[in-house]
Symmetry: D2
Subunit: 137 residues, 4 copies
């Protein structure tokens, strides 16, 4: 199983009046981590969009175990949890670098759709992309 | 069971290059809906924070059934799914006003903590607040 | 001169660890205020985009006179400061409702462009829209 | 004059339905660039906040010359434009790496304040910090 490593540094704007990172930002980091994961199959997410394939999010979930703070350096580990011709589930672990702690863990489920947001069968219509994704499971 | 109604209008900045609302924004709307829910117990969330109680998010989850678009007028229905002395789970339904469709449904789980982010027993230490929350289940 | 009134309630996510609203959010509010202003000419911004006209931002500026806080109810007054066939400048005043204080004032300058982001002459190509904008100066 | 170089990669969430980066994000990048600039004086912004000094934004301004897109790799050049005992003005240039184009240029003005958001005289009360800032002009 391929695990992608993505580095994130917590931005000031990502904090809220509680002094910690606002929970919505983890999903933004997951998205960046996913973009870097996808590059491993020799496609950028930009290129996939130009080919007419998008991966809208159908479901998201995150458990927050420990808060993160402005300036924290984080590692996001991303891997494919499940892959079918019409959907893909990514899992994410957020690790704080200075103490090695897993501070959050989440998942996002995506449909494969075309420019008109209609579901497509990746295995049938984009076999090259499908084969590459399969090597990473 | 008390259900709070919160009105949201989709902002331009909430869209992304796919032309639809970015999935992270639903959690921001849930938070605003939760803030309005809490007012029903004659406390604003600001007042709770002044009393030294915060509700950091421990877990979030959302299913996206249909995309939403710039300018959409949405209704968020919020209710308590579960309440214990140390945590609370809210559920949310996002309904698009022009077609009555439930476009997303989610949940957020919160711990009751003090200013130092330590867990507190609401029933023991803030019985008034606890009693009011209980009337809404 | 027409002045549009737009109501904004400060969201929790808009605060940062300083405990006040992050300065970038004022530009998001200006955008919503601008969208409501534009409706006065019997066009929604969505409709303008469907006609192939967009108003990308070419310059923005804001002075912050007093901080705003979570839950603050704000009024944004928007008016046209300058209009030419190829650009428009909006001005904004942000007023806190509970004390009537002007807490910020800003401006945004926009080009009229088509779907390919090329500048268009509104007076020449969309005379109806131009005429309506002129009535609001 | 010291010029700090900060690298930013455009995030998906930073785009809007126009397909380009939403203009409010440039101010978020300026803030990160400013944080990296400040490290050059052997203080992190976190440390300054612990010493009781904050730099709230009093004024911001940005000219957008060319749009930026998802995945763009950007360089932000930051330098001090003006420094007095009670305020500091930073200037920023945003350069796209693949074509070397300056796509935006902006400025932010900050007051030196304490934890209660009262203005402080940096030269009088924090001479070490003042001396270090002066070496970078």
């Amino acid at each position: 199983m391929y695990i992608n490593i993505c580095k994130i540094k917590v931005r000031y704007v990502e904090t809220d009046k509680m002094g910690i990172v606002h929970h919505s930002n983890y999903y933004i980091w997951f998205e960046e981590a996913r973009g870097e994961f996808i590059k491993q199959i020799d496609f950028t997410y930009e290129e996939m969009e130009k080919m007419g394939i998008m991966l809208p999010v159908v479901e998201t979930q995150c458990k927050y175990k420990s808060p993160s703070f402005y300036g924290d350096e984080l590692t996001i580990e991303t891997f494919i949890k499940e892959l079918t011709p019409v959907k893909i589930i990514f899992n994410y672990k957020v690790i704080r670098e200075n103490d090695g702690k897993v501070i959050a863990a989440g998942a996002t489920k995506h449909a494969f759709v075309n420019n008109s947001l209609k579901i497509i069968n990746l295995k049938k219509h984009y076999i090259d992309l499908w084969n590459k994704l399969e090597t990473l499971i």
